[in-house]
Symmetry: C2
Subunit: 225 residues, 2 copies
Amino acid sequence: MDFDARAHVREATLNAFNFRRATKAFDPSKPIDPADFDVILQAARLSPTSNGLEPFNLLVLDSAAVRQRIVDEAGGGPQWVQAPKLVVITTKRGAGLHADGEHITHMKLDVQGFPADDLPGWQEHFEYFLTKNLELDNDKLRLEWARRQAYIVLGNIMTAAALLSIDSCALEGVNYAVVDGILDQEGLQDKVKDQFAVAVALGYRAAEPKRERTRRPLEEIVRYA
Amino acid sequence: MDFDARAHVREATLNAFNFRRATKAFDPSKPIDPADFDVILQAARLSPTSNGLEPFNLLVLDSAAVRQRIVDEAGGGPQWVQAPKLVVITTKRGAGLHADGEHITHMKLDVQGFPADDLPGWQEHFEYFLTKNLELDNDKLRLEWARRQAYIVLGNIMTAAALLSIDSCALEGVNYAVVDGILDQEGLQDKVKDQFAVAVALGYRAAEPKRERTRRPLEEIVRYA
Protein backbone atom coordinates (compact mmCIF):
# COMPACT_ATOMS: atom_id res chain seq x y z
CA MET A 1 0.00 0.00 0.00
CA ASP A 2 1.20 3.48 -0.75
CA PHE A 3 1.15 6.21 1.87
CA ASP A 4 -2.29 7.60 1.05
CA ALA A 5 -3.89 4.17 0.87
CA ARG A 6 -2.38 3.28 4.23
CA ALA A 7 -3.61 6.47 5.86
CA HIS A 8 -7.06 5.77 4.45
CA VAL A 9 -7.11 2.22 5.85
CA ARG A 10 -5.97 3.47 9.26
CA GLU A 11 -8.76 6.01 9.29
CA ALA A 12 -11.41 3.50 8.13
CA THR A 13 -10.27 1.02 10.79
CA LEU A 14 -10.39 3.55 13.59
CA ASN A 15 -13.73 4.83 12.33
CA ALA A 16 -15.24 1.35 12.58
CA PHE A 17 -14.06 0.86 16.17
CA ASN A 18 -15.31 4.35 17.06
CA PHE A 19 -18.64 3.74 15.29
CA ARG A 20 -19.47 0.61 17.31
CA ARG A 21 -21.58 1.34 20.36
CA ALA A 22 -23.67 -1.03 22.46
CA THR A 23 -26.95 -0.37 20.66
CA LYS A 24 -29.94 -0.51 22.98
CA ALA A 25 -32.69 0.21 20.43
CA PHE A 26 -32.78 -0.77 16.76
CA ASP A 27 -34.72 0.88 13.96
CA PRO A 28 -37.38 -1.72 13.07
CA SER A 29 -37.73 -0.31 9.55
CA LYS A 30 -34.12 -1.05 8.59
CA PRO A 31 -33.36 -4.72 7.93
CA ILE A 32 -29.83 -5.96 7.31
CA ASP A 33 -28.92 -6.57 3.69
CA PRO A 34 -28.40 -10.34 3.22
CA ALA A 35 -25.08 -9.69 1.45
CA ASP A 36 -23.85 -7.77 4.51
CA PHE A 37 -25.10 -10.47 6.86
CA ASP A 38 -23.22 -13.07 4.87
CA VAL A 39 -19.98 -11.09 5.34
CA ILE A 40 -20.67 -11.01 9.10
CA LEU A 41 -21.16 -14.80 9.20
CA GLN A 42 -17.97 -15.30 7.18
CA ALA A 43 -16.09 -13.10 9.66
CA ALA A 44 -17.30 -15.43 12.42
CA ARG A 45 -16.35 -18.48 10.41
CA LEU A 46 -12.86 -17.16 9.63
CA SER A 47 -12.19 -16.16 13.24
CA PRO A 48 -9.14 -17.72 14.85
CA THR A 49 -9.74 -20.28 17.58
CA SER A 50 -7.31 -22.10 19.85
CA ASN A 51 -5.59 -24.86 17.83
CA GLY A 52 -8.07 -24.14 15.03
CA LEU A 53 -10.58 -26.35 16.83
CA GLU A 54 -13.64 -24.11 16.28
CA PRO A 55 -15.46 -25.22 19.45
CA PHE A 56 -18.55 -23.13 18.63
CA ASN A 57 -21.69 -22.97 16.54
CA LEU A 58 -23.96 -20.13 15.51
CA LEU A 59 -27.73 -20.00 15.68
CA VAL A 60 -29.40 -17.29 13.60
CA LEU A 61 -32.52 -16.78 15.67
CA ASP A 62 -35.32 -15.20 13.65
CA SER A 63 -38.13 -16.97 15.54
CA ALA A 64 -40.20 -14.32 17.33
CA ALA A 65 -41.63 -16.99 19.64
CA VAL A 66 -38.26 -18.25 20.86
CA ARG A 67 -36.92 -14.71 21.25
CA GLN A 68 -39.97 -13.81 23.34
CA ARG A 69 -39.47 -16.89 25.55
CA ILE A 70 -35.91 -15.72 26.27
CA VAL A 71 -37.22 -12.30 27.29
CA ASP A 72 -40.05 -13.73 29.41
CA GLU A 73 -38.24 -16.62 31.05
CA ALA A 74 -34.52 -15.75 31.03
CA GLY A 75 -34.67 -11.99 31.58
CA GLY A 76 -33.43 -10.99 28.13
CA GLY A 77 -33.53 -7.26 27.31
CA PRO A 78 -35.66 -5.66 24.59
CA GLN A 79 -33.03 -6.24 21.90
CA TRP A 80 -33.88 -9.94 22.06
CA VAL A 81 -37.21 -9.10 20.47
CA GLN A 82 -36.35 -5.94 18.55
CA ALA A 83 -33.12 -6.72 16.73
CA PRO A 84 -33.53 -7.32 12.98
CA LYS A 85 -30.95 -10.09 13.31
CA LEU A 86 -29.89 -12.03 16.35
CA VAL A 87 -27.01 -14.48 16.42
CA VAL A 88 -26.66 -16.90 19.33
CA ILE A 89 -23.19 -18.34 19.87
CA THR A 90 -23.05 -21.76 21.50
CA THR A 91 -19.99 -23.78 22.38
CA LYS A 92 -19.30 -27.45 22.54
CA ARG A 93 -19.38 -28.84 26.06
CA GLY A 94 -18.34 -31.86 28.10
CA ALA A 95 -16.97 -34.65 25.92
CA GLY A 96 -17.17 -32.27 22.95
CA LEU A 97 -14.13 -30.54 24.45
CA HIS A 98 -12.13 -33.69 25.16
CA ALA A 99 -9.22 -34.44 22.84
CA ASP A 100 -10.70 -37.83 21.94
CA GLY A 101 -14.30 -36.59 21.69
CA GLU A 102 -16.43 -36.46 18.57
CA HIS A 103 -16.02 -32.75 17.79
CA ILE A 104 -12.27 -32.47 18.20
CA THR A 105 -11.66 -35.76 16.37
CA HIS A 106 -13.84 -34.48 13.50
CA MET A 107 -11.93 -31.18 13.43
CA LYS A 108 -8.52 -32.86 13.39
CA LEU A 109 -9.24 -35.64 10.89
CA ASP A 110 -12.00 -34.35 8.61
CA VAL A 111 -11.53 -30.57 8.64
CA GLN A 112 -7.79 -30.18 9.21
CA GLY A 113 -6.73 -33.38 7.45
CA PHE A 114 -4.48 -34.38 10.33
CA PRO A 115 -2.93 -37.86 9.89
CA ALA A 116 -4.96 -40.46 11.85
CA ASP A 117 -1.78 -42.27 12.92
CA ASP A 118 -0.51 -39.14 14.66
CA LEU A 119 -3.79 -38.45 16.47
CA PRO A 120 -3.06 -40.28 19.75
CA GLY A 121 0.17 -38.30 20.21
CA TRP A 122 -1.59 -35.05 19.44
CA GLN A 123 -4.42 -35.89 21.85
CA GLU A 124 -1.94 -36.45 24.66
CA HIS A 125 -0.24 -33.14 23.86
CA PHE A 126 -3.56 -31.27 23.72
CA GLU A 127 -4.81 -32.71 27.02
CA TYR A 128 -1.53 -31.64 28.63
CA PHE A 129 -1.90 -28.15 27.14
CA LEU A 130 -5.41 -27.72 28.56
CA THR A 131 -4.98 -29.35 31.95
CA LYS A 132 -1.40 -28.37 32.83
CA ASN A 133 -0.50 -25.23 30.87
CA LEU A 134 -3.92 -23.62 31.00
CA GLU A 135 -4.92 -25.24 34.32
CA LEU A 136 -8.38 -26.17 33.01
CA ASP A 137 -8.66 -29.40 34.93
CA ASN A 138 -12.41 -29.94 35.00
CA ASP A 139 -15.28 -29.72 32.50
CA LYS A 140 -16.64 -26.44 33.88
CA LEU A 141 -13.28 -24.72 33.40
CA ARG A 142 -12.75 -26.39 30.05
CA LEU A 143 -16.06 -24.94 28.94
CA GLU A 144 -14.45 -21.57 29.61
CA TRP A 145 -11.65 -22.40 27.19
CA ALA A 146 -14.37 -22.77 24.54
CA ARG A 147 -16.13 -19.60 25.68
CA ARG A 148 -12.93 -17.59 25.34
CA GLN A 149 -12.87 -18.61 21.68
CA ALA A 150 -16.57 -17.78 21.38
CA TYR A 151 -15.75 -14.25 22.49
CA ILE A 152 -13.22 -13.84 19.67
CA VAL A 153 -16.06 -14.80 17.34
CA LEU A 154 -18.36 -12.37 19.16
CA GLY A 155 -15.83 -9.56 18.80
CA ASN A 156 -15.29 -10.27 15.13
CA ILE A 157 -19.03 -10.31 14.43
CA MET A 158 -19.34 -6.87 16.03
CA THR A 159 -16.26 -5.51 14.27
CA ALA A 160 -17.30 -6.85 10.85
CA ALA A 161 -20.72 -5.28 11.42
CA ALA A 162 -19.14 -1.95 12.39
CA LEU A 163 -16.99 -1.98 9.25
CA LEU A 164 -20.26 -2.25 7.31
CA SER A 165 -21.81 0.56 9.42
CA ILE A 166 -24.13 -1.97 11.05
CA ASP A 167 -24.89 -1.69 14.76
CA SER A 168 -24.68 -4.42 17.33
CA CYS A 169 -24.98 -5.24 20.98
CA ALA A 170 -23.50 -8.19 22.83
CA LEU A 171 -26.15 -9.87 24.96
CA GLU A 172 -24.86 -11.44 28.17
CA GLY A 173 -27.63 -10.27 30.51
CA VAL A 174 -29.73 -13.42 30.70
CA ASN A 175 -29.96 -16.39 33.00
CA TYR A 176 -27.65 -18.79 31.22
CA ALA A 177 -29.21 -21.99 32.57
CA VAL A 178 -32.69 -20.85 31.54
CA VAL A 179 -31.53 -19.96 28.01
CA ASP A 180 -29.92 -23.38 27.74
CA GLY A 181 -33.17 -24.99 28.81
CA ILE A 182 -35.15 -23.02 26.20
CA LEU A 183 -32.73 -23.80 23.38
CA ASP A 184 -32.82 -27.48 24.35
CA GLN A 185 -36.62 -27.61 24.54
CA GLU A 186 -36.99 -25.84 21.22
CA GLY A 187 -34.64 -28.34 19.61
CA LEU A 188 -32.14 -25.60 18.73
CA GLN A 189 -29.17 -27.18 20.43
CA ASP A 190 -28.28 -30.60 21.75
CA LYS A 191 -27.98 -30.25 25.52
CA VAL A 192 -25.41 -33.01 25.72
CA LYS A 193 -23.19 -31.40 23.10
CA ASP A 194 -23.86 -27.65 23.11
CA GLN A 195 -24.14 -24.84 25.61
CA PHE A 196 -25.15 -21.18 25.34
CA ALA A 197 -22.14 -18.82 25.35
CA VAL A 198 -23.42 -15.35 24.40
CA ALA A 199 -25.63 -13.68 21.79
CA VAL A 200 -25.34 -10.59 19.63
CA ALA A 201 -28.08 -8.35 18.28
CA LEU A 202 -27.56 -6.71 14.88
CA GLY A 203 -29.36 -3.92 13.05
CA TYR A 204 -29.34 -0.15 12.72
CA ARG A 205 -29.49 2.18 15.70
CA ALA A 206 -32.85 3.89 16.26
CA ALA A 207 -31.12 7.05 17.52
CA GLU A 208 -27.63 8.36 18.17
CA PRO A 209 -26.36 7.39 21.64
CA LYS A 210 -27.10 10.00 24.29
CA ARG A 211 -24.01 9.40 26.37
CA GLU A 212 -20.44 10.00 25.33
CA ARG A 213 -18.41 6.83 25.04
CA THR A 214 -16.33 6.20 28.16
CA ARG A 215 -12.96 4.47 28.05
CA ARG A 216 -9.82 4.59 30.14
CA PRO A 217 -7.13 6.59 28.34
CA LEU A 218 -4.51 4.53 26.55
CA GLU A 219 -1.88 5.52 29.15
CA GLU A 220 -3.92 3.79 31.82
CA ILE A 221 -4.43 0.64 29.77
CA VAL A 222 -0.98 0.11 28.30
CA ARG A 223 2.35 -0.47 29.98
CA TYR A 224 5.65 -0.76 28.04
CA ALA A 225 8.65 -2.94 28.86
CA MET B 1 -23.07 4.36 1.39
CA ASP B 2 -23.98 3.89 -2.25
CA PHE B 3 -23.98 0.47 -3.86
CA ASP B 4 -20.38 0.52 -5.11
CA ALA B 5 -18.99 1.82 -1.83
CA ARG B 6 -20.89 -0.89 0.05
CA ALA B 7 -19.60 -3.65 -2.23
CA HIS B 8 -16.09 -2.30 -1.74
CA VAL B 9 -16.40 -2.33 2.06
CA ARG B 10 -17.77 -5.89 1.98
CA GLU B 11 -14.84 -6.99 -0.10
CA ALA B 12 -12.26 -5.20 2.06
CA THR B 13 -13.80 -6.70 5.21
CA LEU B 14 -13.79 -10.24 3.83
CA ASN B 15 -10.26 -9.75 2.51
CA ALA B 16 -9.02 -8.83 5.98
CA PHE B 17 -10.55 -11.93 7.59
CA ASN B 18 -9.17 -14.08 4.79
CA PHE B 19 -5.74 -12.44 5.05
CA ARG B 20 -5.31 -13.26 8.74
CA ARG B 21 -3.45 -16.50 9.33
CA ALA B 22 -1.73 -17.75 12.46
CA THR B 23 1.73 -16.52 11.53
CA LYS B 24 4.49 -18.82 12.74
CA ALA B 25 7.51 -16.88 11.45
CA PHE B 26 7.88 -13.12 11.10
CA ASP B 27 10.17 -11.23 8.76
CA PRO B 28 12.73 -9.65 11.09
CA SER B 29 13.51 -6.89 8.60
CA LYS B 30 9.96 -5.50 8.62
CA PRO B 31 9.03 -3.52 11.72
CA ILE B 32 5.51 -2.26 12.34
CA ASP B 33 4.90 1.40 11.55
CA PRO B 34 4.19 3.21 14.85
CA ALA B 35 1.10 4.84 13.31
CA ASP B 36 -0.28 1.39 12.49
CA PHE B 37 0.56 0.08 15.94
CA ASP B 38 -1.31 2.98 17.48
CA VAL B 39 -4.44 2.05 15.50
CA ILE B 40 -4.10 -1.53 16.81
CA LEU B 41 -3.87 -0.29 20.42
CA GLN B 42 -6.87 1.97 19.89
CA ALA B 43 -8.83 -1.00 18.51
CA ALA B 44 -8.03 -2.81 21.77
CA ARG B 45 -8.99 0.20 23.82
CA LEU B 46 -12.30 0.68 21.98
CA SER B 47 -13.23 -3.00 22.27
CA PRO B 48 -16.52 -3.73 23.98
CA THR B 49 -16.36 -5.41 27.38
CA SER B 50 -19.11 -6.72 29.63
CA ASN B 51 -20.82 -3.75 31.33
CA GLY B 52 -18.04 -1.56 29.93
CA LEU B 53 -15.85 -2.60 32.85
CA GLU B 54 -12.61 -3.09 30.86
CA PRO B 55 -11.17 -5.76 33.18
CA PHE B 56 -7.90 -5.94 31.24
CA ASN B 57 -4.57 -4.25 30.64
CA LEU B 58 -2.02 -4.45 27.86
CA LEU B 59 1.72 -4.90 28.15
CA VAL B 60 3.75 -4.04 25.05
CA LEU B 61 6.68 -6.35 25.59
CA ASP B 62 9.77 -5.22 23.70
CA SER B 63 12.25 -6.53 26.26
CA ALA B 64 14.31 -9.28 24.61
CA ALA B 65 15.34 -10.58 28.04
CA VAL B 66 11.79 -11.05 29.32
CA ARG B 67 10.65 -12.58 26.04
CA GLN B 68 13.54 -15.05 26.23
CA ARG B 69 12.64 -15.97 29.81
CA ILE B 70 9.11 -16.84 28.65
CA VAL B 71 10.54 -19.09 25.94
CA ASP B 72 13.05 -20.73 28.28
CA GLU B 73 10.91 -21.12 31.38
CA ALA B 74 7.28 -21.17 30.22
CA GLY B 75 7.63 -23.05 26.93
CA GLY B 76 6.79 -20.10 24.66
CA GLY B 77 7.21 -20.68 20.91
CA PRO B 78 9.69 -18.85 18.66
CA GLN B 79 7.28 -15.96 18.01
CA TRP B 80 7.87 -14.85 21.60
CA VAL B 81 11.38 -13.89 20.57
CA GLN B 82 10.93 -13.17 16.88
CA ALA B 83 7.85 -10.99 16.66
CA PRO B 84 8.56 -7.30 15.94
CA LYS B 85 5.78 -6.44 18.38
CA LEU B 86 4.31 -8.52 21.17
CA VAL B 87 1.28 -7.52 23.21
CA VAL B 88 0.52 -9.35 26.45
CA ILE B 89 -3.08 -9.11 27.64
CA THR B 90 -3.61 -9.40 31.39
CA THR B 91 -6.86 -9.31 33.29
CA LYS B 92 -7.80 -8.10 36.71
CA ARG B 93 -8.15 -10.90 39.25
CA GLY B 94 -9.58 -11.64 42.68
CA ALA B 95 -10.92 -8.52 44.37
CA GLY B 96 -10.27 -6.62 41.13
CA LEU B 97 -13.32 -8.42 39.75
CA HIS B 98 -15.58 -7.84 42.74
CA ALA B 99 -18.31 -5.22 42.35
CA ASP B 100 -16.97 -3.27 45.35
CA GLY B 101 -13.30 -3.73 44.45
CA GLU B 102 -10.87 -1.00 43.43
CA HIS B 103 -10.95 -1.57 39.66
CA ILE B 104 -14.70 -1.79 39.19
CA THR B 105 -15.35 1.12 41.56
CA HIS B 106 -12.83 3.18 39.56
CA MET B 107 -14.51 2.21 36.28
CA LYS B 108 -18.00 3.06 37.52
CA LEU B 109 -17.22 6.33 39.29
CA ASP B 110 -14.18 7.82 37.55
CA VAL B 111 -14.41 6.47 34.01
CA GLN B 112 -18.15 6.04 33.47
CA GLY B 113 -19.24 8.90 35.73
CA PHE B 114 -21.82 6.73 37.47
CA PRO B 115 -23.55 8.49 40.42
CA ALA B 116 -21.89 7.45 43.71
CA ASP B 117 -25.27 7.30 45.46
CA ASP B 118 -26.49 4.64 43.05
CA LEU B 119 -23.37 2.51 43.35
CA PRO B 120 -24.52 0.15 46.14
CA GLY B 121 -27.63 -0.78 44.16
CA TRP B 122 -25.61 -1.34 41.01
CA GLN B 123 -23.07 -3.46 42.92
CA GLU B 124 -25.84 -5.73 44.17
CA HIS B 125 -27.24 -6.05 40.66
CA PHE B 126 -23.81 -6.79 39.18
CA GLU B 127 -22.97 -9.45 41.78
CA TYR B 128 -26.32 -11.11 41.05
CA PHE B 129 -25.55 -11.00 37.31
CA LEU B 130 -22.18 -12.70 37.73
CA THR B 131 -23.05 -15.26 40.40
CA LYS B 132 -26.62 -16.19 39.46
CA ASN B 133 -27.12 -15.43 35.77
CA LEU B 134 -23.62 -16.34 34.61
CA GLU B 135 -23.05 -18.93 37.40
CA LEU B 136 -19.56 -17.59 38.13
CA ASP B 137 -19.68 -18.25 41.84
CA ASN B 138 -15.99 -18.36 42.74
CA ASP B 139 -12.87 -16.31 41.93
CA LYS B 140 -11.45 -18.86 39.48
CA LEU B 141 -14.63 -18.79 37.39
CA ARG B 142 -14.95 -15.03 37.71
CA LEU B 143 -11.45 -14.73 36.28
CA GLU B 144 -12.90 -16.47 33.24
CA TRP B 145 -15.51 -13.73 32.89
CA ALA B 146 -12.59 -11.30 32.57
CA ARG B 147 -10.73 -13.61 30.19
CA ARG B 148 -13.74 -13.81 27.89
CA GLN B 149 -13.52 -10.03 27.56
CA ALA B 150 -9.76 -10.27 27.02
CA TYR B 151 -10.45 -12.52 24.05
CA ILE B 152 -12.68 -9.89 22.46
CA VAL B 153 -9.69 -7.55 22.80
CA LEU B 154 -7.42 -10.26 21.38
CA GLY B 155 -9.73 -10.77 18.40
CA ASN B 156 -9.96 -7.06 17.72
CA ILE B 157 -6.17 -6.64 17.86
CA MET B 158 -5.80 -9.37 15.24
CA THR B 159 -8.61 -8.01 13.08
CA ALA B 160 -7.34 -4.44 13.23
CA ALA B 161 -3.90 -5.73 12.28
CA ALA B 162 -5.33 -7.72 9.37
CA LEU B 163 -7.18 -4.66 8.10
CA LEU B 164 -3.76 -2.97 7.99
CA SER B 165 -2.23 -6.04 6.25
CA ILE B 166 -0.25 -6.80 9.40
CA ASP B 167 0.17 -10.40 10.49
CA SER B 168 -0.46 -11.81 13.92
CA CYS B 169 -0.55 -14.95 15.98
CA ALA B 170 -2.40 -15.51 19.25
CA LEU B 171 -0.07 -17.06 21.81
CA GLU B 172 -1.75 -19.42 24.28
CA GLY B 173 0.86 -22.20 24.27
CA VAL B 174 2.71 -21.38 27.47
CA ASN B 175 2.54 -22.48 31.07
CA TYR B 176 0.25 -19.82 32.47
CA ALA B 177 1.45 -20.04 36.07
CA VAL B 178 5.08 -19.70 34.97
CA VAL B 179 4.32 -16.66 32.79
CA ASP B 180 2.52 -15.08 35.74
CA GLY B 181 5.56 -15.71 37.91
CA ILE B 182 7.90 -14.12 35.36
CA LEU B 183 5.69 -11.04 34.86
CA ASP B 184 5.47 -10.65 38.64
CA GLN B 185 9.21 -11.03 39.18
CA GLU B 186 10.01 -8.58 36.40
CA GLY B 187 7.66 -6.04 37.95
CA LEU B 188 5.44 -6.03 34.86
CA GLN B 189 2.24 -6.86 36.65
CA ASP B 190 0.99 -6.82 40.22
CA LYS B 191 0.36 -10.43 41.17
CA VAL B 192 -2.39 -9.47 43.58
CA LYS B 193 -4.25 -7.46 40.94
CA ASP B 194 -3.33 -8.85 37.52
CA GLN B 195 -3.10 -12.20 35.79
CA PHE B 196 -1.83 -13.32 32.39
CA ALA B 197 -4.67 -13.98 29.91
CA VAL B 198 -3.08 -14.40 26.47
CA ALA B 199 -0.54 -12.72 24.20
CA VAL B 200 -0.42 -11.80 20.55
CA ALA B 201 2.57 -11.52 18.23
CA LEU B 202 2.49 -8.90 15.47
CA GLY B 203 4.63 -8.30 12.41
CA TYR B 204 4.88 -9.35 8.77
CA ARG B 205 4.90 -12.98 7.65
CA ALA B 206 8.29 -14.30 6.57
CA ALA B 207 6.66 -16.49 3.91
CA GLU B 208 3.22 -17.34 2.58
CA PRO B 209 1.56 -20.15 4.58
CA LYS B 210 2.22 -23.60 3.14
CA ARG B 211 -1.08 -25.12 4.14
CA GLU B 212 -4.50 -24.12 2.88
CA ARG B 213 -6.69 -22.60 5.54
CA THR B 214 -9.08 -25.14 7.02
CA ARG B 215 -12.54 -24.22 8.29
CA ARG B 216 -15.84 -26.00 8.60
CA PRO B 217 -18.22 -24.85 5.86
CA LEU B 218 -20.79 -22.28 6.92
CA GLU B 219 -23.58 -24.88 6.66
CA GLU B 220 -21.92 -26.90 9.40
CA ILE B 221 -21.42 -23.88 11.66
CA VAL B 222 -24.75 -22.09 11.32
CA ARG B 223 -28.25 -23.24 12.14
CA TYR B 224 -31.34 -21.11 11.40
CA ALA B 225 -34.56 -20.92 13.44
